[in-house]
Symmetry: C2
Subunit: 395 residues, 2 copies
């Protein structure tokens, strides 16, 4: 009696969802200390102390009716203004509250903006590998998500392949840099070239093509890499941001959309986002969390911790014979499976206590994602298992 | 460039959304002290002290990674179990964690369960007047919401009219008692009769017809009224609940779905709800708020405060000649406008500083909703305006 659409969604979502419960199952089977769960992007670095301090301050300073009351559908004006000013300091932009819509995480923001931009029969494009939920946000809006095939080993976007796929139906390009699952950071040259393609196609087709920049990993960059701020490169860019990674608040479900005044049909897009927030059932982003991030948006997570995890795991795995692009961002390694069927590889890995996500979940079979946002000790203790797994394929 | 669906949604949602900003506009125009905003159901009774105390305790007692980390898609098992046990104590049910899905308020829960149950071309039914966002949740799932016409002056559900409208396409009946906007509480006899109709139609059509019981106002009842717990009356009942009113936490966006084990296809519906939570972009209900309501689910709001508001306003308005069913629940009066076009009536009311919601927003023209979840003083000071407005129609 469940809807047909739902049955399809259950199938599509199974891989990522299963990761959440699979770790628990394996721990019961092999014992907690023998399972190394690299399946989920749940930050192991705790939130900056300023977050919990801000909560306590807010409880003390702000009227209870305001802390717990409805906010405007687009969020608390002062919170939006504070975040806009923080962005302006960082990127030289000139946003104000009217350009910010507070959302239930980046996921909520993506779902909302897809609903705003995409109609029945419309298309969105993205680059494989990509976060599988993108399909659901686009499908929920009535559209179809088409993927540009993976471009290994660099996993940089294949712009020629993108251009071929853009038609009058193309409403949006979902872009994710630093990338989940590859850890690749798109540099300024790449973003500039992408902008040129889209400007050309907009002119040719007489349409608006929006970039939806999914940026929860913006601050997690290494080796001096920088993620260019895409609204500075392309006029029709909408940013979906989350504090899940930058402040380690994934469970708090707090993020925002940036809708620059320069985007085509700005007034309708901004009004639409506020209304879609309500129509989809979000109503408003959690009020207390809006106040917290307004106070903490300049706080930083311990990027050095992830960086050490990255180098430790990358160097060990490559020394054991695994092939992997050295990631410059996010907290994932995207590793070539040691046999063509990466799901079979993941099953073998489980016998060594190693839990990884099959590339299929990201529409990129043959690879696995290893989330290194875990305790250092987990990585250290897992290395013999990774080595034994590699050895199994050499025998 | 905004999607066509979105443009329709903007129109449908305009009335309720406008309420939020209209109050601000009028206050700027007439001065804060001269505007009486009865437009929005934003509780004026503050959250029980236990809520903020629980937040501080959680910050002290629980590991920060857990407070701010992702939870299971269906919510923290211990929170779901605590709420299930609270329900069991109150209603003699035998729910456990597996029957509860934590959601981003009742709105999030309704959006999720519509996505689970309703397919392209399916229908849901509800009784006018009703909360206008129901349309959007059903439409987002690909279905159509049909309304049984209003049944004044009692505004009890017209079951004969319901039965006529049930077809093989009917997947769900959205039921809201205590009712927004009428304040009517459906008694046990009404719920029993409704259950009989649905059982008869299920048998006749060979389909499953679910009641989706939207119950944010369950605890707000007066004059000794009780809202029957609908799962005890009808096997295919799913409850959408919010702590928005019972704990005055509307901005926190925290609620749950109850999916009893007895509903048809229980396993699929429960799995579907968890996945729809993710696919729509909610991911999980805010983690900290889940922990708070688990600790506070037996706390009570100050119902007596609303009751005094209710009696004060009801008695004054009826004495001035307004016609209105005496509400036994929620915090609204649903009053017959003093002219057939209630939007014109609302415009005249604004000139007296009175802000009310036109019945059109609830698909029931000719009436207005007055939300009395405001400060007592607001009501007291507004009475001369209500009287002057009535007088205007007598001249």
């Amino acid at each position: 009696m469940v809807s047909k659409k739902m049955k399809e969604m259950i199938e599509r979502s199974a891989a990522l969802g299963a990761m959440f419960t699979e770790g628990k199952r394996l721990k019961e089977l092999y014992g907690e200390e023998n399972v190394f769960d690299f399946g989920i992007g749940n930050p192991n670095v705790k939130a900056p102390d300023a977050v919990n301090e801000a909560i306590v301050e807010i409880l003390r300073e702000v009227d209870s009716l305001q802390i717990h009351g409805y906010t405007d559908g687009s969020g608390i004006p002062a919170a939006r203004q504070a975040i806009a000013e923080s962005l302006n300091r960082r990127f030289g932009t000139s946003f104000s509250a009217k350009n910010l819509i507070m959302t239930v995480g980046a996921a909520g923001g993506l779902s909302v903006i897809c609903k705003v931009l995409i109609d029945e029969g419309d298309e969105a494009l993205t680059f494989a590998p990509y976060f599988g939920e993108y399909d659901n946000y686009v499908i929920n809006a009535g559209g179809t998500l088409l993927a540009v095939p993976p471009n290994p080993p660099s996993f940089l976007p294949d712009l020629a392949a993108l251009e071929e796929r853009i038609t009058a139906k193309t409403k949006a390009i979902i872009l994710n840099s630093p990338n989940n699952p590859t850890g690749v950071v798109y540099d300024a040259e790449t973003i500039g070239a992408l902008a040129a393609v889209l400007e050309r196609k907009e002119k040719e087709l007489g349409t608006s093509i929006y970039i939806i920049a999914d940026e929860p990993y913006r601050e997690l960059v290494y080796d001096g890499a920088e993620a260019p701020y895409i609204p500075l490169y392309y006029h029709n860019t909408i940013v979906a941001y989350s504090f899940s990674k930058s402040l380690s608040l994934p469970g708090d479900r707090i993020g925002y959309l940036v809708i620059p005044s320069e985007v085509d049909d700005f007034a309708d897009v901004a009004a639409g986002a506020e209304i879609a927030n309500r129509c989809l059932g979000f109503v408003n982003a959690p009020a207390l969390q809006q106040m917290v991030v307004a106070r903490c948006c300049d706080e930083q997570t311990d990027v050095a911790y992830y960086d050490k995890n990255r180098l430790l795991l990358y160097e060990a795995l490559t020394s054991y014979g695994y092939a992997c692009a050295k990631p410059q961002g996010a907290f994932y390694l995207f590793v070539k499976a040691l046999e063509p069927d990466e799901e079979a590889f993941c099953e073998k890995a489980k016998k060594h206590g190693l839990l990884m996500t099959p590339g299929k979940a990201f529409r990129c079979p043959g690879y696995v994602r290893i989330a290194y946002c875990v305790a250092r000790e987990t990585i250290e203790r897992s290395l013999p298992s990774f080595q034994a797994l590699a050895q199994e394929y050499k025998n």
